[in-house]
């Protein structure tokens, strides 16, 4: 194979110029289309539509489109129509940051709904802070963060993990714990918090087994066998699973095949919802548990209306709803309410107006945005049923307020986040009275 280094000829250059002009013209058409209507308020949707995260995130893009459509049907916001700007960050973390910048500074979106997984949020966080815009993050996460520009509508660890452990402790008298997770920050932190919590309850160290696996782990044979062996020590054993989406299907399949039933060793998962179960044959999983702040099976009028609207919107009578979708519903309604209260979409005004905003959630109550930019939520524990839905077996008596800084981590136990005046600090140390991070003048 011979390759030669060509030289530019004049005609070649002319061609290149023509091609560039065509591209530029196409780009101009596109941007004209994007900016043509000045009477709209733009809402950015930053969810991966391709790559590994598309499995989870595509649904959230759809639910946002539905919410925006509904809002427009109600007459829009501040007398203007809402306009969704959809981009595809393609499960690529630097691309998330690039797209966030585009949404804010090129498309001039008033607020952005998006991200899934901490790394995508961490990637865009500096962009939102620099350009002072608003991000709604709808997924449960490890906490330990409190940015002025981010509103966390998913659960913090204390809104999901700890009530689930309490349930198993009280109901099933579990005395031995397997903490199985994918090796990334959310499981690491959650397990760290759970371990501290269990030890504080008197569980011996040797009764806790921690296991980490890579993303997309698909061969669970010996880990499941190890769990089985760990469970044969004569004490009731349970698995607390922070295994990430994709790896769950092979994990549950292996559990079923090795004959671990929920009545023997129940598995409680924090990342398995209706959407994930729709991709699994659930018959062998009946009785395994999940902890969320919303289940599709919630029996109330708001939820029924939402489910009906969702099925109509997707034109699929079998489409499921799940917890991060509810988080977007709450977040979007809060944003709408705050914009109406502030009378503008300007970031500073809306950020201030959002705190204290309360909107109905889909579990029959109200969720409120707290000064730490997290929302109050009920915690539900559900058992998987044969039809892929959850049967709620326990719910917290009231709403749980998020602990953004974990009291079980030595370095953060004295920190609080409070974005109200006069404190306005994301990490205020109540002992020293110093604001260690996130102070905004």
């Amino acid at each position: 194979m011979a390759f030669n280094e060509p030289t530019f000829s004049r005609r070649g250059l002319a061609r290149l110029g023509a091609a560039a002009a065509t591209i530029a013209a196409l780009g101009a058409v596109k941007s004209a289309a994007a900016q043509g209507t000045s009477g709209t308020i733009k809402v950015g949707i930053l969810h991966s539509l391709s790559g590994t995260m598309a499995i989870s995130e595509t649904t959230l893009r759809d639910v946002m489109l539905m919410l925006i459509e509904q809002q427009n049907a109600k007459g829009g916001l501040l007398g203007k129509k809402l306009e969704a700007v959809v981009v595809d960050p393609a499960s690529n973390w630097p691309l998330f940051a690039e797209k966030a910048r585009q949404l804010i500074s090129v498309d001039k979106c008033a607020a952005t709904f998006g991200c899934w997984t901490s790394v995508s949020r961490k990637s865009v966080l500096p962009v939102f802070e620099e350009l002072n815009s608003i991000l709604f993050y709808p997924v449960q996460y490890e906490g330990q963060e409190c940015s002025r520009n981010v509103f966390y509508t998913g659960a913090a660890p204390n809104q999901q993990a700890i009530p689930a452990v309490d349930y198993l402790w009280n109901e099933s008298k579990v005395k031995r714990w397997v903490l199985a997770g994918t090796d990334y920050v959310y499981p690491r932190t959650t397990n760290q918090i759970l371990e501290a919590y269990l030890i504080s309850k008197g569980v011996a160290k040797e009764d806790i087994l921690t296991n980490y696996t890579p993303f997309g782990h698909s061969d669970w044979q010996n880990i499941v066998a190890e769990i089985k062996k760990f469970g044969s020590a004569g004490k009731k054993t349970a698995v607390v699973s922070t295994i990430n989406g994709d790896a769950n299907v092979p994990f549950y399949k292996e559990l079923g095949n090795q004959g671990i039933k929920a009545t023997d060793i129940p598995v409680v998962a924090f990342s398995v919802g209706e959407e994930e179960l729709a991709g699994i044959d659930t018959k062998p999983l009946v009785g395994h548990l999940a902890a969320w702040n919303y289940f599709q099976s919630e029996d109330n009028a708001d939820n029924k209306k939402f489910i009906a609207a969702w099925k109509a919107f997707t034109k699929n009578p079998k489409r499921t709803t799940n917890d991060p979708m509810e988080a977007h519903v709450i977040g979007f309604n809060m944003w709408v309410k705050a914009v109406e209260a502030a009378g503008t979409t300007a970031s500073d005004a809306v950020i201030d107006a959002l705190i204290g905003t309360a909107v109905p959630n889909l579990t029959g109550g109200y969720s409120a945005m707290m000064p730490n930019h997290h929302i109050t939520k009920p915690v539900l524990i559900g058992e998987i049923q044969a039809d892929g839905q959850f049967n709620t077996v326990s719910r917290t008596a009231g709403l749980v307020v998020a602990q953004e800084w974990s009291p079980y981590v030595a370095d953060t136990k004295d920190l609080i986040g409070d974005w109200r005046s006069p404190l306005k600090c994301g990490a205020f140390n109540v002992k020293t009275g110093a604001c260690t991070a996130g102070k905004k003048a």
């Binding site: 391709s50 499995i55 109901e171 698909s218 044979q221 079923g256 044959d281 077996v393």
Partner: protein
């Protein structure tokens, strides 16, 4: 504790005159008609103790989620045709009014298993008795002893009797008033059972007399030692199973890449198409031929072969054939193709995972000595062996295989002999793609069926082919099994992530020693 009371109640009631038994059944039915899990659980225990003729039917209905109740606490059993039966009288009821299902949690499921187990010990069906005995073993309740003794006396099947005796041993050890000799005897019965359940049960016992406690400790050590010995064999099995998965994923690549020299980055997508074909076949059969649903995979295999094979032929005719002799350009074009195929599947089927059922004959596991052999993996090992054998036979004994080998060995000579080389190229590529499609059927049983399915296997597949030696199916086989088994032996020591890293590093070092893989091609072909 509650269960214990129920048992005492049972014992007391067994001696009491009839009417109170009927009262108890009424109480039980009332307790079942509740949204409180505690109440339902109590109801199940009471009902099973009452010996009511409808007890088995009602608890069975509860187990399968067909028991409904009305606000006035009347119970109904939903029929398959949508009608209802009155739970107590079994009389058909056209319209029971507003009813709610009785909800079940794990605690209730345990109670149901125990209750049904005791009732079904006398079933005429051997398999039912076997599962019943196993359920009674797991429940390990002293109250089951009389029934167990009766059942063992009547039992003729030796394997069921063995299970019943183990269940009795568990019951004896759980009972408060067993003698020490009986207990030691029971421990030895469980020691011979020697599986993980027996170990778990023995370890959970407390408050035993000292002699019994010693026997238990000895038994546990013995069971552990046995498990230790079997664990090597178990790891080999895990490795074989992982290796067979790798082999299936790589076998098609061994044809397209190994034999034809095409770096097909869209190979993983052929696997994915096979998996989605399985999904489509199941959807179709569920709707149109539900009677044959259990055999859906048998239909999916040839269909996946054909679908992926056809896609492969189309790709070869439209794309690859322009790029022969430029292997690196095929990499580029097929990478582009894989993006298109992934997005295509995402557009057609949606981005979510698809639910591909595992037929019942592929679910669960069997015990062989101390080995746990899961059926789905056993079938995949078997399937990969069949695929490999068929592939080798096709290449060796069919005239198509002969021509394929001729073309790949010396294209111009083959053409001179009158072989239509372009057509053979297309068929060879189709064969490789078809095999990948069949791999997709197998992978749908153990992994996600999503647009990303292929991506997760493509790297491993290339490594297997290169490790074994390009152009050699035996090399691919041995490569897959070696990688699988090495991985599974490293995993318990180093953890899942490190095991994979170590395997990769070993592979890199191995290639330094043997730059052409385990089985290098000899001669002129090797140089190109």
């Amino acid at each position: 504790m509650r269960r214990f009371f129920a048992i005492l109640l049972l014992a007391a009631l067994a001696l009491a005159p009839g009417p109170s038994k009927a009262d108890q059944a009424d109480d039980a039915f009332a307790a079942l008609a509740s949204t409180s899990f505690d109440s339902v659980r109590g109801g199940v225990e009471q009902l099973s103790a009452s010996g009511h003729p409808r007890a088995a039917a009602v608890i069975g209905a509860l187990q399968s989620g067909k028991l409904y109740f009305r606000p006035d606490r009347a119970l109904f059993i939903k029929q398959d045709d949508g009608g209802y039966l009155h739970a107590l009288t079994a009389a058909a009821i056209a319209d029971p009014g507003t009813v709610k299902p009785v909800r079940v949690n794990n605690g209730i499921r345990n109670a149901i298993d125990a209750a049904l187990g005791a009732m079904r010990l006398f079933s005429p069906d051997t398999a039912t008795r076997l599962t019943a005995a196993e359920a009674v073993f797991h429940a390990a309740e002293a109250g089951a002893l009389p029934a167990l003794n009766k059942a063992i006396a009547k039992e003729s099947d030796p394997s069921v009797r063995l299970r019943m005796e183990q269940a009795r041993a568990a019951a004896i050890l759980s009972s408060a008033d067993s003698g020490e000799a009986d207990r030691i005897q029971a421990v030895s019965v469980l020691r011979t059972r020697a599986d993980i359940d027996a170990r778990g049960f023995l370890a959970s016992l407390s408050g035993q007399p000292p002699a019994v406690a010693d026997a238990i400790a000895v038994a546990i050590t013995a069971i552990d030692r046995k498990a230790q010995l079997w664990s090597v064999a178990q790891s080999v099995y895990y490795g074989l199973s992982l290796g067979s998965v790798l082999l299936l994923a790589a076998a098609g690549l061994a044809i397209t890449f190994g034999v034809m020299g095409v770096i097909n980055m869209a190979h993983g997508e052929m696997v994915m198409i096979g998996a989605y074909t399985t999904f489509a076949v199941q959807q179709f059969m569920r709707a149109h031929t539900p009677g044959m649903y259990g055999a859906s995979l048998l239909f999916a295999v040839p269909l996946a072969f054909m679908v992926s094979g056809t896609v492969g032929i189309v790709i070869e005719r439209t794309l690859i054939r322009w790029l022969y002799g430029r292997p690196l350009e095929t990499l580029l074009a097929t990478w582009g193709l894989s993006l298109v195929l992934q997005q295509g599947v995402r557009t057609i089927f949606g981005a979510n995972n698809k639910d591909v059922d595992t037929p019942s004959w592929m679910s669960g596991a069997t015990q062989l000595g101390g080995l746990t052999l899961t059926w789905n993996r056993m079938y995949i090992i078997l399937f990969s062996a069949i695929v490999l054998a068929a592939l080798m036979a096709a290449l060796r004994y069919t005239s198509l295989g002969l021509r394929m080998r001729a073309v790949t060995q010396n294209r111009r000579m083959a053409a001179a002999m009158g072989i239509r080389t372009p057509w053979i190229d297309a068929l060879t590529f189709g064969l490789g793609s078809g095999v990948a499609g069949m791999a997709g059927v197998a992978l749908s049983q153990i992994d996600n069926v999503s647009p990303n399915l292929g991506q997760s296997y493509i790297i491993d597949s290339f490594m297997v082919v290169v490790f074994g030696g390009v152009g050699n199916l035996w090399g691919t086989t041995l490569g897959a099994l070696t990688l699988g088994i090495t991985n599974k032996f490293l995993e318990p020591v180093a953890g899942a992530v490190m095991a994979k890293i170590v395997v990769l590093v070993l592979l890199i070092l191995f290639i330094q020693r043997r730059p052409r893989g385990m089985f290098p091609l000899k001669g002129r072909a090797a140089e190109s």
